[in-house]
């Protein structure tokens, strides 16, 4: 269960279902998923490929619609939103970190971060200031004018985290953020995510690796479209403190 503190949960889903239709073939990917997430949690959604974890993240992250079921975000029912409304939710309420970084190679690190503010009606000055703040928050202030083709993989993912952070979202989704990184760079990325969580950011991590999932303080395990386990970890494995608990 959610380690609630009595208030309204940030995210609440009940009996969420998703079917993929391909011609006559209807494949259920989510077969009724229910849970809640509080503000400030660091959650790992774990499971093998095909378990439905990515689909769940897409729905929670407003990239996709559920076929059936209820989704409440910040007390508001968002199950039946229009595409434009979903786009606004993505813009204002969530940030994404992807396995493959998805940085635009022709832009500098800072401009990649600014891209997340491209669809906000704010001044250039504010856009600049917030992007600089975000890139400094991931410790890459000294790399901000570098082309992203000239920085390391770990640095690329940190730029991507800054990009997810810059719009001050309610939730940051990280989809296999260490999947393309060596263990050292992956460790740094996880450390940054933990750090952000400690500063109050809600983080939802999607991974198939148990090692990575253990950085979270709650692990939702999925298999074949249903939740198999939902465990709150009291003393999580910290990247900073080494192996505190196993």
């Amino acid at each position: 269960m959610a380690n609630g503190n009595g208030g309204t949960p940030l995210i609440r889903v009940r009996d969420l279902r998703k079917d993929y239709v391909d011609g006559d073939l209807e494949t259920p990917v989510l077969k009724g998923v229910s849970f809640g997430i509080e503000k400030g949690e660091f959650i790992a959604i774990m499971g093998p490929s095909g378990s439905g974890k990515s689909t769940l993240m897409h729905i929670l992250g407003f990239l996709d619609h559920a076929t059936e079921g209820m989704y409440e975000f910040d007390g508001k029912d968002v199950s039946r939103q229009s595409d434009d409304d979903l786009a606004l939710m993505r813009r204002d309420r969530v940030g994404f970190v992807f396995q493959a970084f998805f940085l635009l190679p022709e832009l500098s690190a800072l401009d990649n971060v600014k891209l997340a503010l491209a669809y906000h009606d704010i001044s250039d000055r504010e856009r600049d200031a917030r992007a600089v703040e975000a890139i400094e928050a991931v410790g890459l202030g000294h790399r901000k004018d570098y082309s992203v083709t000239r920085i390391s993989g770990g640095e690329k993912q940190r730029v991507a985290i800054a990009r997810a952070l810059v719009s001050k979202p309610a939730v940051i989704f990280a989809d296999e953020p260490t999947g393309n990184l060596d263990s050292k760079s992956g460790g740094v990325v996880m450390e940054i995510l933990e750090d952000l969580n400690e500063k109050g950011n809600t983080i939802i991590l999607v991974t198939h690796e148990k090692e990575t999932a253990e950085h979270a303080n709650r692990i939702i395990s999925m298999r074949d479209g249903v939740i198999e386990g939902d465990v709150t970890v009291q003393a999580r494995k910290s990247a900073k403190g080494g192996m505190l608990n196993k």
């Binding site: 786009a87 993505r90 998805f102 635009l104 891209l115 491209a118 669809y119 856009r127 719009s167």
Partner: protein
């Protein structure tokens, strides 16, 4: 503003692939450049011809043989001999005609000491010089005795005189026309090109001489007159006179039944205006085909661009771009391509027109370099519209992409 950021991003993207951007714009550049070039040359020709028409004065009337549909149809070929010397004589006696000159073109070789030339030989009268405001500076123009006596006197155009006599003085020398010896009495100053005829290559002889010595037939190529009072009114007098002389029963005044046509200077200008605007429309239509082809080029490259940037589109959607934001991005990019192409095309077209006018001005006096600003504005507008129209489909395709599919695209 958000779209300003989009414009900036698009420019960066286009600048990153300069060669491809240039090649993409090439169709538009060529299309716009040819529109500008065509309209500029068209306006140049129009200005030149209207100037020439005006030089005859508003009181000039031309009488040509051949009836037919006079609202723009060709003259009747069987009637091309309808205008006779006697018609000219009768026209000249009309009260509102102050001066009249018959003009007959004769084809013959003019030679002198083994040098041959085939100029346009204009057989006419004393009045021709007055009607065309020709002032002879070397020698003299015909006088009454040349015409009345049908003397073998000839006046040469300036470059014809050069061809035949080189640097020598032709006055008082003789030339041979159809084995008959003519006496050169004058050389005209440079007159330039009129209605695409090089007047300096022409030779002039009295029409009486032509009738007696060169060609028996007495029909005329045209008659040029200067009238008093309202030119339309005077033209009507000439029309009635000729109908009477040619036994044309035409009480209803249907000009299609006539075997001649009358053109006042004003009508000529109006007719020419119609011809030149028809020509401009025709040339512009051809140029629009190249704009259309250019537009297809833009669409093609935009479709390639949408495919190449599928992941970028997915990312932008994940960052909160709505369909219309993606749509705007690709439309702005297509329009930037065509607008910039239009700008380069307009500059190129204007430069080519300018270069062309330098060359033409060497050959034709009175040629003016004109780049019609309305054509530039129109071309620019059309270029932008091409971007909008041909960018629409790729932009829609981009906007419709599903963000998850787009992010998965390899």
């Amino acid at each position: 503003m958000r779209h300003l950021e989009t414009v900036r991003t698009s420019i960066k993207g286009l600048m990153a692939q300069k060669l491809r951007t240039l090649l993409t714009m090439l169709g538009i550049i060529i299309g716009i450049a040819s529109v500008i070039l065509m309209t500029s040359l068209g306006k140049g020709v129009e200005g030149l011809i209207l100037d020439q028409l005006e030089s005859f004065g508003p009181d000039a009337v031309f009488i040509e043989p051949g009836g037919g549909n006079q609202e723009g149809g060709p003259p009747n070929f069987s009637q091309l001999t309808a205008l006779k010397y006697e018609d000219y004589q009768a026209i000249a006696k009309l009260p509102n005609v102050t001066a009249a000159a018959p003009i007959k073109y004769v084809d013959a070789t003019v030679s002198r000491a083994g040098v041959n030339a085939t100029p346009q030989i204009v057989a006419t009268t004393v009045e021709y010089a007055e009607l065309n405001t020709i002032a002879v500076t070397r020698g003299r123009w015909f006088d009454a005795s040349d015409v009345e006596g049908a003397l073998r006197s000839i006046v040469l155009g300036s470059s014809l005189a050069e061809d035949l006599f080189g640097d020598g003085d032709p006055i008082g020398q003789s030339v041979t026309v159809k084995r008959k010896t003519f006496n050169v009495i004058g050389v005209l100053p440079k007159r330039g090109v009129q209605f695409f005829q090089d007047l300096d290559k022409a030779a002039y002889i009295p029409i009486s001489t032509a009738r007696r010595e060169l060609q028996g037939e007495d029909h005329l190529t045209f008659v040029m007159v200067r009238v008093e009072g309202d030119p339309d009114y005077a033209a009507e007098d000439i029309r009635l006179l000729l109908r009477d002389r040619h036994d044309i029963d035409n009480p209803e005044g249907d000009t299609k039944k006539d075997d001649f046509r009358l053109v006042t200077q004003e009508q000529a200008a109006a007719t020419f205006g119609q011809v030149s605007s028809a020509l401009t429309i025709f040339l512009t239509a051809i140029a629009s085909i190249s704009l259309f082809v250019g537009g297809i080029g833009i669409m093609n490259i935009m479709l390639v661009s949408v495919t190449e940037r599928t992941r970028e589109i997915g990312l932008r959607k994940a960052l909160g771009a709505r369909r219309r934001d993606i749509m705007a991005q690709f439309l702005i990019e297509a329009m930037l391509l065509t607008m910039f192409g239009g700008l380069i095309g307009a500059l190129l077209g204007a430069s080519l027109s300018w270069l062309g006018s330098l060359v033409i001005a060497n050959v034709i006096d009175g040629w003016n370099f004109i780049v019609p600003l309305d054509a530039v504005a129109l071309a620019f507008g059309v270029a932008t519209a091409v971007g909008l129209v041909f960018g629409l489909y790729p932009a829609q395709k981009a906007a419709k992409l599903d963000p998850i599919e787009a992010l998965r695209y390899e």
